[in-house]
Structure formats: structure tokens, C-alpha cells
């Protein structure tokens, strides 16, 4: 196989891995503070992308044409909106079911995701068809033989890395992060120590959802298209990534995200006669990993008291 061609796959894989990791980080944050899976996460991401698109139309309408201002506004607006959306799901759907079986939380958030998805499909103008997403990043590209590196891909990768670094600094170095980690370790004790449990949970949901919005916009910018059901597969993949890495561990989520992208890319490269099977391959490997390491690659701390 040609080296340049391979390089193309690598860049594409890294791009996918970055998006998956951003989604997986959200899953792992929610699991950390509440031990729950918020399955509407993928659809919150999709709402983020559509919020970005709407912001773009709004900016165009009032005559702001500068790509950079547009970009920054889009990111800020959609992060804030999805942050609010995520924390509302947390407050009104997830927290009330705190003492119910885990299945109920999983289902209620799955259904919340369905509601979001259907709302966009039914009520966004022409929502059932794919929407073109504006290319706001510079479109230069550099070529070395067969290998073409698009400047926008490079910028997205750098931006994604910065977001991940920022999140891990936030969790590990700030007072808020300390509160989040305290709640993740032991919610009851954290409460006794004067941490506002509900607030920490809601803020965590807002942060995780905001990160999902960034992944959604990256997805739009990279593929120049968004779709009402883009969140379903991205959500499932993000969930797989978080689980394979080991829930509750940010580095596990990142590892899982890149692993999944790697599997898909490998599937596409190594099965040239059947590259359509790349998702089948990736999910099959995920199932096998689950059989081998039932609590993920970076194992979750388990402490059942008997």
C-alpha cells in the first residue's frame, strides 16, 4: 500500500478518534459523578451542531461575515445552549431517578435522546434531510505525493487536543474539578463535607454537554454536513469508547475513542474487498474486548460492600 494513502487514513482516523474521545469524555464525566449512563448524549451533540448552524444563519442575517467571529460565536452559543440542555436533562430526568434501577436511567435518557432527535426532524425546517454545514476554516491544503493534509483538519485536531487538555486541567487542577472528583469518589461523603451535590452534578452535565457540542461542530466542519440522526451512531460509539476504556476515567475515554477510530480505520484498510464491513468489524472487536476485560481496559474501581 502507498505510504501517502496510508497517511490519509491516519489523519482521518485521528480526526474520528478526536471526535469520539470528546463524546466519550462526556459519558465518563456523567458516570463519574452519578454512576449513570446518559444516553441522550449523542443527540445533545446533534442539537449542538444544529444550534451552531442556526447561529450561523442568524449571523449571516445580521450581516456579520467574518469567518473567525462566526466561528467563535457559533462555538460559544452552541456550547452554552447544549450546556443548558444537558443540565436540564440532568436535573429533571436523571436526578429524580437517582434511586431507581440503572435500567430506568438508561431508558429515560435514551428516550430523551429520541425526543430531541424527533424534534429536530419534525420541527427544524426541512429537518429530515441532511443540512450543509458552512466551511468556516481556511481551505488551503499541503500535498506531499499522494498525501494531502488539509489545513482545516490540522486546526480541528489542534483545537480538539486543546479542549481535551483544558478538560483534564479543569478536572485535576481547579476547585470545581476537586468537587467533581469528590462527588465521583463518594457522593454521600462529599455532601457531608459541604459540597453542593446537586449543583456539582448539574455543572458536570453542562460541561460534558458543552464538550459534545464542540464535537458536533467539529463533525459539521469536517464533513460539511449535519443530519438529525448523526447523534445516534456517534453516541453509541462514544459510549463504546468510554466503556472499553473503563468508565469514570478520562484517559480511558480518550484511549477508547482513538481505539475505536483505529479499529474502523484498520477495518477499512485491511478489508479492502469489504471496507463496508468496517463498523461490523469495529463493533465485533468491542464485543470481544468486553468479554476479555468486562470493566474496560483501564478497569473501573469496584467496591461492593457486602
Amino acid at each position: 500500500m502507498d505510504i501517502g494513502f496510508l497517511g490519509q487514513y491516519v489523519v482521518n482516523g485521528l480526526m474520528l478518534g478526536m471526535m469520539y474521545s470528546l463524546v466519550a469524555v462526556g459519558f465518563t464525566l456523567f458516570f463519574g459523578v452519578l454512576d449513570i449512563i446518559k444516553f441522550s448524549h449523542g443527540d445533545v451533540l446533534m442539537v449542538g451542531a444544529f444550534a451552531g448552524l442556526t447561529t450561523f444563519f442568524g449571523l449571516e442575517a445580521i450581516g456579520i461575515e467574518s469567518a473567525w467571529i462566526q466561528l467563535v460565536t457559533i462555538v460559544v452559543v452552541s456550547c452554552v445552549l447544549t450546556g443548558i440542555l444537558g443540565s436540564m436533562i440532568g436535573k429533571y430526568l436523571v436526578l429524580p431517578l437517582k434511586s431507581a434501577p440503572a435500567l430506568n436511567t438508561l431508558l429515560i435518557t435514551l428516550m430523551a435522546g429520541t425526543v430531541l432527535r424527533e424534534c429536530i426532524r419534525l420541527f427544524f425546517p426541512d429537518g429530515s434531510n441532511p443540512k450543509p454545514f458552512p466551511s468556516l476554516l481556511p481551505s488551503e491544503s499541503y500535498s506531499w505525493g499522494n498525501f494531502t493534509l488539509r489545513l482545516d483538519s490540522l486546526m480541528l485536531l489542534i483545537f480538539g487536543t486543546l479542549v481535551i487538555v483544558a478538560i483534564s486541567l479543569l478536572i485535576n487542577k481547579t476547585k470545581l474539578g476537586l468537587a467533581i472528583r469528590a462527588v465521583a469518589q463518594d457522593g454521600e461523603t462529599a455532601k457531608i463535607m459541604g459540597i453542593n451535590f446537586t449543583l456539582v452534578v448539574i455543572v458536570t452535565f453542562a460541561i460534558g454537554s458543552g464538550v459534545a457540542a464542540i464535537a458536533g461542530i467539529m463533525n459539521g466542519l469536517y464533513y460539511n454536513e449535519i443530519n438529525f440522526d448523526m447523534g445516534l451512531l456517534l453516541g453509541v460509539i462514544g459510549f463504546s469508547a468510554a466503556i472499553v476504556g473503563g468508565l469514570g476515567n478520562i484517559y480511558g475515554a480518550i484511549l477508547g475513542g482513538f481505539l475505536f477510530a483505529g479499529l474502523q480505520t484498520f477495518g477499512a484498510v485491511a478489508l479492502p474487498f469489504a471496507s463496508a464491513y468496517k463498523d461490523v468489524f469495529a463493533f465485533a472487536v468491542i464485543i470481544m474486548i468486553m468479554a476479555w476485560r468486562p470493566t474496560g481496559l483501564i478497569a473501573e474501581r469496584t467496591s461492593e460492600r457486602v
Binding site: 431517578l97 440503572a102 429515560i108 428516550m111 429520541t114 459510549f239 461490523v280 468486553m290 468479554a291 468486562p294
Partner: protein, 387 residues
């Protein structure tokens, strides 16, 4: 498990069943959207009013005493319903589809209602049943009834691939395994050519004692019944078998072991319960029932395509169990009827049905987490018999 004291009353319970049947006939026969809308308003009011008079608990109490009679009454009611619409293709198709989904949901109920094994790939196993009957119908001359069994068997066997990861993982991790399988299965069907790709395959109709189910029933020139009549009767028969099976399972030491494992694995292990065994048994039985339902569904529809077996369809199956009341087969049957019939009949909401499912399930989870018909305590012996 509700245990309000209520006195049994056979007349009231039979009247409720009769009214329910009459309502179903009116509802399925109604052509006009306004009529359907007002019927829905009426039934909502009726349900609210009956809860005032503790009717539901009285029905539960009646079931506990006159179980066989009540079950017979419901079978007769269903037969009446089917007979009423004997020449109406659409209504019979709807009734049959609801029964097929009820069979599949009963299978799912064994898995997570009893043993607590999450399965978010219900639609995939339904699809395995469908595809099995398509392939076997095309390449072999096996009798239809055998194909139905084989549909279940193939689903159960393919399910065993997942048993190891499902057993080793728990909670969210286990959920992932079946979710991944659900997506893997649909993608696989879409991209391979042998099974027809996105277009799917044709399925041969059911043939029983030389009678092809896809021919209308004609007696001279005076009487003609829809060919769906046969499918409706077959579905009722299979549903009755599935119901008896799951009831006996629940009312046995095995059902008790499954409940105990669902509620507390550690304590169960300390009392000698073989957790892996009973989880595998529940998973396999469940997949078998789902597979049989799928095989029959395929033969009735005459074709099978991957788009019928998405992750969203698996979620609908899960919602049916949850809406009806986890662990209660009567609840599951009721919920399957609501979930299948309502959007088909009420065309205005057809477009909005996923949205409405979503909202309804959210409300159920928040305000009635045990479902419409909560499961009752186990009666080991059929109604009335006491130890």
C-alpha cells in the same frame, strides 16, 4: 408489586373485558380521525374513572381467584375481535402485528423482567427469525411450522455468541454488548449481498396442512375472508403458547431463582444459585421466543429488509415491556397492542409516533415506573388454589 386489598368480582371483570372488546372493535373500525380522537379521550376518561373505583385492583383480585375463566374470557374476546374483522385486511394485519410484538416482548420480559439480563438487540433477534424464514423458505422445502421453530432456534444459537460477554459484564457494560450487537447486525445486513442487502429478501408464506396462508378464504361465492385471518389465528395460538410458557416459568423455582438473581446477585450466590446458568437460560429462552415471532412476522409480511430491525426498533420493544409493567405478561400484551395499534390507526400521529413514544416512556418512568399493569406477587399455583 401492588397489594392493595380489593375484593374479587367476576361480573365486573367480565364486563370490563366485554367493554374492552367493544372498544377495540369500535376503535379498529373507526375511519374518521375525529371519531378516533374522541374514542381515545373517552378511554382515557374511562381509565381514570375506573381507578377511582379501584377497578384495576378488583380485576387483579378476580384473576387471582378465577384465573382460568378470566384467561378463557380474554381468548374468546380476541377471537370475537378477529371474527368481527374477518374480511378487513388492514385491521387483521394490525391485530396480528400486535400479537407478534407481544410474543417478542414476552421473550424480552423473560430476559430482563425476570433474570435482569439487559437486551437492547431485540429487533436484531426478531430480524434473525425473519431472515431465517426467508432463507429456509427459499432454499428448502421444510414445513412452515418447522421453519418457525428453526427461526427461534437460530436466534437462540446466535444469541449464545453474546452469552459470554453478557455474563462477564454487568450493568452498563452489559448494555453496551447488546447495543453494539444491534448496530453490528443491521450494518451487516445492509452491506452484504447474500442476504439481499438494503433491499432485503422475499419470504414464502406459511403453509399448514397444504393450505397456503396467503390465499383468501372463500366458501362458494357467499363468504370471503381475508387471508390475514389465518395469520391472526396462528399468532393467537403462538401467543397463547408463549404466555403459558412464561407463566409456568415464573411460577416455578426457576422463576424464583431468576428473580433472586436480578434483585441481588451476591446473596443469590451465597444461597447456591448458579447465576451464569439461569442468566443464560433466560437469555436463550427469550431469544427463542423473539426469533419465533420474527419468523412468523416475516412469513406474514412476505418480505424482510434491514430497515425494520434498527436500534430504534429494539428500543420500541424495550419500551413495550416497560410500559406494560416489567415482569407482567398481561401488561406486556396490553402495551404491545397500544404501541402497535395506536399510531397505525391514528394517522395524524403516525409522523410523530417516535416523539410520542419518547414522551410517554419518559412520563411512565417518572410517574409510574412499574408500568401500566404492575407485576403482582408470585402465585405458584393457578388462581384460587392455596397451599
Amino acid at each position: 408489586m401492588s397489594n392493595k386489598i380489593a375484593s374479587p368480582s367476576l361480573p365486573i371483570s367480565l364486563a370490563v373485558i366485554a367493554l374492552g372488546t367493544a372498544f377495540a372493535i369500535l376503535f379498529l373500525g373507526a375511519e374518521n380521525e375525529y371519531l378516533i380522537g374522541s374514542l381515545l379521550v373517552f378511554v382515557t376518561l374511562a381509565v381514570v374513572a375506573s381507578s377511582k373505583f379501584n377497578i384495576l385492583n378488583r380485576m387483579y383480585a378476580t384473576f387471582a381467584v378465577h384465573e382460568v375463566l378470566m384467561q378463557a374470557a380474554i381468548v374468546v374476546a380476541t377471537l370475537l375481535l378477529v371474527a368481527w374483522f374477518y374480511d378487513d385486511h388492514f385491521s387483521l394485519l394490525m391485530i396480528t402485528a400486535a400479537m407478534v410484538y407481544a410474543i417478542a416482548a414476552i421473550g424480552l420480559n423473560i430476559q430482563f423482567g425476570y433474570a435482569g439480563v439487559l437486551n437492547f438487540a431485540g429487533a436484531a433477534f426478531l430480524g434473525i427469525g425473519c431472515y431465517t424464514s426467508a432463507v429456509l423458505g427459499q432454499y428448502t422445502n421444510l414445513p412452515s411450522m418447522l421453519i418457525l421453530c428453526l427461526g427461534g432456534l437460530v436466534a437462540a444459537v446466535i444469541g449464545t455468541i453474546l452469552i459470554l460477554p453478557v455474563l462477564r459484564t454487568s450493568g452498563h457494560y452489559a448494555a453496551l454488548v447488546t447495543i453494539a450487537f444491534s448496530i453490528l447486525f443491521k450494518t451487516f445486513l445492509e452491506v452484504n449481498d447474500v442476504l439481499g442487502g438494503p433491499q432485503g429478501l422475499n419470504v414464502k408464506p406459511t403453509v399448514l396442512f397444504g393450505w397456503n396462508f396467503n390465499t383468501n378464504i372463500e366458501i362458494r361465492d357467499e363468504f370471503e375472508a381475508s387471508f390475514y385471518l389465518c395469520y391472526a389465528l396462528l399468532a393467537l395460538f403462538l401467543l397463547a403458547l408463549a404466555f403459558i410458557f412464561t407463566r409456568r416459568l415464573e411460577r416455578s423455582w426457576i422463576g424464583l431463582s431468576m428473580d433472586s438473581i436480578r434483585l441481588d446477585e451476591t446473596a443469590s450466590a451465597c444461597y447456591g444459585l448458579n447465576i451464569a446458568l439461569w442468566k443464560s437460560v433466560a437469555f436463550t429462552f427469550g431469544n427463542f421466543l423473539i426469533g419465533v415471532a420474527g419468523a412468523m412476522y416475516g412469513q406474514m409480511l412476505g418480505y424482510v429488509a434491514p430497515s425494520n430491525f434498527t436500534f430504534g426498533d429494539s428500543l420500541i420493544l424495550v419500551s413495550i415491556v416497560l410500559l406494560g409493567g416489567i415482569g407482567n405478561p398481561w401488561g406486556v400484551i396490553t402495551a404491545a397492542s397500544i404501541v402497535i395499534l395506536l399510531p397505525e390507526k391514528f394517522q395524524i400521529i403516525q409522523e410523530y409516533r417516535f416523539l410520542l413514544y419518547g414522551i410517554v416512556v419518559i412520563f411512565i418512568l417518572l410517574y409510574r415506573p412499574k408500568g401500566l399493569l404492575p407485576r403482582q406477587l408470585r402465585n405458584y399455583l393457578p388462581g384460587g388454589m392455596k397451599a
